[in-house]
Structures are given as C-alpha cells and as structure tokens.
C-alpha cells in the first residue's frame, strides 16, 4: 500500500511530464490498436476470399455474345467438346441474364425457377431471420434454376400476397420458399450487384435443350497447380473447334495467387507502419525517461545518498512510468478501437472486432515502455550520488 502511495506521489509530483508521457503513450497505443484492427478487417476479408477460392479453385470460361450462330457456343457444343474433357474435374455450363424480373413474369416464365433468393434488405425490412450466404455459384449449390430478386421488387411482389408467410414469394401463380439472403458484405464480390435492388435475375441452365446458347462454363479445379494446364487445354479446344467464338478465361487459381500476393504486400505495409509507430513510441518514451532522470537527478542523488540502492531507484521510476503508461495505454486501446470502428464504418467495410488488436496494442506499448525505461535507467547504475546532487544544485 505504501509503495503504491509512493509511486502515485511521484507521478503527481511531475504532472506535466506525466501528462506528456501519457499522451504520447496513448497516441502510440491508439495507432497500434487501430493498425491491428484495420489489418484484421482488411486482410481477414481477403484471406477468407482466398480460402473460399482455394477450397474449390475454378476456371471460368466466359463467352462473349455473338451476332450469328457461329459466334455462339450451344449447350450441345459444350456436351460434345467440353464436358468430360477435364477428368477428374467436373464442368458445368450456364447461361446468365440480367433483366427485369417483372418483365420475365410477363414473359410467362412461371414455374421456371426452382428457388428464390433475395438480398439482406428484405430480411431487415420485415425483421425476419433468414439464411445468409452465397448462392450465385452453381458449383457451390446444386440448384438448377434460381432467381435473385432485389428487395424493392420482392417487397412489391409481397404487396399482392400480404397474408402469406414472410419467407415465401409469389412469382406469377407459383409460391416459392425464399432460400436465403445475400449478405451485404458480399455485394462487392458480384458484378452488377447494384441492380439487385431494383431487379436482377440469374438463371443457370444445363438441361433445357441443346440449342440454348450458353455464356459460361465453369471447371472445378481443386488443385490450383493444375489451373494453367486446364486453361491451356480449354484454349486449345476453343481455337480448334470454335475459332469465331470470342471468349475470356478467368483463372480463379491465378486470382487467388494474385490476391495472396496483394495480401502479403498489404500485410507488409501494415507491419512496417506498425513497426515505425512502435519505434517512434519507444524513442519517445526513452527520451522522456532521459529527461525525467535529468530533471530528477537531484532527487535520485538524495535517494542514493540516504541509502537507496540503484535497483530501488530504478524500480520506483519504472513503476511511476509504468503506471502512466499502463493507464494511458488502456485509454489508447479504447481510443484506437473507437477510431478504427468509426473509420471502417465510414468506408463501409465490415468491422471485425477481435480481442487481438486490443491485446497487441496494450502489450506492445507496455513492453516498449518498460524496455525504454530499462535502457534509460541503466544510467543510474553508474551514477555517483554527489555528482547527481551537484548537477542540479
């Protein structure tokens, strides 16, 4: 109890110095916490996406729409030349259209869909809990035909059937169970997502007759190392059999590799900024300690003269600085978390809070302050009491 009192007395006796040390520690802790929180938010998202891609590495062949039949690839062409050519990997052909849902209803496509999906705003509007996830990719889900209806259209469809359960949807005369909602966070991952609010539907079709032109072929390549080989094989088939077809091959394995490389660079940048911040904080605290020793040289000399050992004096000063750093780093961590939360909110990312950022910010700054203290206080070991007293007399 006496020791705590002594330490607090020391802290309050040097108010200006304590405030300056506290503010610099607070800033450093806030910067480091903010960096770690940002690091997680930015890199975890990419890391998850890489994992998702790697889990089922795919090659997508996109066929550009052509004016005549020679520039198109039909389902029959696919069955004859592509399907089964990439053993052991599976292939799927699909056709995607972007149009207005209501137009399709008018076009009497009733009964065409097997499942209905909407977006998160729908669930939020009616305050219902629904499955969240990715439903676009046929390789992830075994649904042959599904429609994604933006919440505005979905809500207008509900108006016609207000008494029906909220997790069902009527298109034409057919009632569908809503499979789930697409998460808001997944928005950026899909081209044309913004259209889902008003209208967008995607149907994937591989069993509706051979003459339907397809615009996408997906090959599920589970081993990323095989991707270049598969790409080359696909290119070769297309140039031999369909020279007039314009196409583009997206190698998701390569995309994952590119993402990985970006991720590494982003992590490196974060680490460098974090290291520099930690270094600046350390130098600042060290400098502050040297100033404290110079300022309190007389007191240190008196303490040594009346019987304190160098260890006792060092412990006291470390405890004083430690108390300031401990309190300000706690505050700094809170400030850092708040700033990162606000910033992430502002740039409309998904904030992923982890205890890690607080722990790293708190521990790192306290370890730095104790190390800086130790480096600065080594001077006391060589201090002659009378010289210390006379220096300030």
């Amino acid at each position: 109890m006496n020791s705590i009192k002594t330490v607090l007395k020391g802290v309050f006796s040097q108010k200006t110095r304590a405030v300056l040390t506290g503010v610099s520690t607070l800033c450093a802790a806030a910067i480091i916490t903010c960096l770690v929180a940002f690091y997680h938010t930015a890199t975890d998202f990419m890391s998850d996406e890489i994992d998702r891609i790697n889990l089922g590495t795919k090659i997508h062949l996109h066929i550009m729409s052509g004016e005549d039949s020679t520039q198109q690839l039909t389902y029959a062409d696919y069955q004859q030349h592509i399907q089964g050519q990439f053993h052991p990997y599976n292939t799927v052909a699909s056709k995607t259209q972007h149009t207005d849902v209501q137009l399709n209803i008018k076009d009497q496509q009733n009964g065409f869909y097997e499942n209905v999906i909407t977006n998160a705003e729908y669930a939020e509007t009616f305050q219902i809990e629904m499955n969240e996830g990715r439903f676009f990719n046929k390789l992830d889900h075994p649904y042959n035909r599904f429609v994604v209806i933006g919440h505005e259209i979905a809500e207008s469809l509900r108006e016609n059937n207000p008494d029906k359960p909220l997790d069902t949807m009527f298109i034409g005369t057919n009632e569908y169970k809503i499979l789930g909602v697409i998460k808001e966070a997944a928005r950026g991952m899909f081209f044309g997502w913004h259209r889902t609010n008003t209208a967008m539907f995607t149907f994937l079709n591989h069993s509706d007759g051979g003459n339907i032109p397809i615009d996408q072929v997906s090959i599920q390549v589970s081993n990323p190392d095989d991707c270049p080989k598969i790409s080359a094989q696909l290119t070769s088939i297309l140039s031999d059999k369909f020279p007039s077809v314009r196409y583009q091959i997206d190698d998701m394995g390569k995309t994952a590799q590119d993402l990985k490389s970006y991720l590494f660079k982003i992590r490196l940048v974060f680490c460098v900024i974090g290291f520099v911040s930690a270094l600046v904080a350390g130098v600042n605290i060290c400098n502050s300690m040297f100033a404290i020793i110079a300022e309190r040289s007389k007191e240190i000399g008196i303490r040594l003269a009346i019987g304190a050992s160098a260890f006792q004096v060092k412990s006291l000063l470390t405890a004083e600085t430690g108390t300031v750093c401990l309190l300000s780093s706690m505050l700094g961590v809170a400030v850092g978390e708040a700033i990162s939360g606000l910033l992430v909110d502002y740039i409309e990312w998904e904030y992923r809070w982890t205890i890690e950022s607080s722990v790293i910010g708190f521990l790192l700054i306290n370890i730095i302050s104790i190390l800086s203290c130790y480096i600065a206080l080594r001077k006391i070991n060589r201090m002659n009491p009378i010289t210390a007293i006379q220096n300030t007399q």
Binding site: N2, T6, K9, G10, F12, S13, K298, E299, I302, R303, L304, A305, I306, G307, A308, S309, A310, Q312, N381, N384, P385, I386, T387, I389, Q393
Partner: protein, 227 residues
C-alpha cells in the same frame, strides 16, 4: 576508543577537457568511534570532497581508506552502497529534502530504504516529535523555515541510527541562533548515542563545539590536514 575510519594518503583528481585537476592530495586522517570532528579550512581546499569520500558518496583516485579495518577502496559500488546505507547518515548545507514529499515521508524514506518491512511511520513521527516538528510532519519542505528544514534533515540522517554522521556545512544556511541550536543538538546526539560526527565548516565558532578540529591547508599545492 577504537579507530573507525583511517584514511591513508588519499588522492582525488578530476579530468576535465584532458586536464587533470587535483582536488585532494595525499590526505591522511584517522577518526575514532564516538569522535566529534570538525574539518575546517578555506573554500576550495577539498573539505567536502574529503567528507564525500569518507561517506562513500565519492571514491578516491589513489590511497587507502579503511572503515572498521575493511578496505573501502577495494569495494565495488554495491558494497560501498551497502556500507553507506548501514553506517552513514548525512546532513547537507542545502538540507536536500525531496521537495514533493512531506516532512514525514522524507524522514521515513531513509528508514524504508534500510528496512522496507519496518514500520517507518511511527518511528518517524517519534523522531519528528523529538525535534519539535510534529506540527509540521505533513508540510512540504518549502513550507518550512531553514532551521526547521535542517532539523528535518537531521532527523532523516539519524533515524537509521548510523554509526557515523557526516555534516557538510550544516549551519551554512542558518542564522546564528539556529546555528548554535543545531550544533548543540549534534553534540547531544554525539554524547547520548555515541555517534561519530564529522562535520565540515569554515566557522571556527561552530568548530569549537567539536572534540577535535582538523584544519586543511594548502602546502606546496597539496591539501594537508593537521590538528
């Protein structure tokens, strides 16, 4: 009476800007247990340096220093600190109380450093009462007069019951009345506790309170001490 301190040809030099300055040259001295010794001499002759060397606040460049037959010059910093903590008490001309601590805390500090487990508060209060400072125990040093500060400084020095009390110009900053009071108190401590007292003063009137007086003079550039 046993010899407690023996200084043999003690030399202290200081090197500044590659030039060597001699502060003390071949000074020899012996002090018995229970002595009350005044060291006098003109300013700059090395009285305080000698006192600091005796009190292990400074170390000699050459010579031999025996304390209780133990060679201090062969001790390392840690051993010298232990010796200082165990056997010496100090009074300085400028009192040197820690400004942000109360008088009570200042006095208790010395006791805490010697024995952290001892109840320093009650002991300190007792000694402050003896020195007539019980009404000022919670005051900060700058709230006291010079005489009161010097008494607080004396209380801090003797609370650990040191064998040797060193006083560097203890009356230098005091008026005549307080100076005589201080010397009387020191004499009383010397007699009642058998504490060896070595004090540095240039005031011969104050030196007269002591049993022995040593005068330091510069002879052929060397500071020589003689009785």
């Amino acid at each position: 009476m046993s010899e407690i301190i023996q200084l043999q040809k003690i030399k202290k030099t200081l090197t500044k800007r590659r030039q060597q300055h001699t502060l003390l040259d071949e000074c020899s001295l012996s002090v018995n247990q229970g002595d009350m010794l005044a060291i006098t001499g003109q300013s700059g002759i090395g009285k305080s340096t000698l006192l600091n060397i005796i009190g292990c606040l400074d170390f000699p460049t050459q010579g031999k220093y025996l304390f209780d037959d133990h060679d201090v010059t062969k001790m390392n910093i840690k051993q010298r600190n232990m010796l200082r903590k165990k056997h010496f008490g100090y009074i300085f001309q400028q009192y040197l109380l820690i400004e942000h601590l109360s008088v009570l805390d200042n006095v208790a500090l010395a006791l805490q450093y010697r024995n952290p487990r001892q109840n320093s508060c009650s002991e300190s209060k007792k000694i402050l009462n003896e020195f007539g400072l019980s009404n000022h125990e919670n005051h900060k040093p700058n709230e006291l007069s010079g005489g009161q500060q010097q008494r607080a400084s004396l209380a801090r020095a003797i609370i650990t019951n040191p064998r040797v009390l060193l006083a560097d110009e203890p009356t230098g900053a005091l008026d005549a009345h307080n100076s005589h009071l201080m010397m009387k108190t020191l004499k009383e401590i010397n007699q009642s506790r058998d504490t060896t007292i070595i004090l540095v003063t240039h005031d011969l009137e104050m030196a007269n309170y002591c049993k022995r007086t040593i005068t330091m003079e510069s002879i052929l550039g060397k500071a020589v001490a003689h009785e």
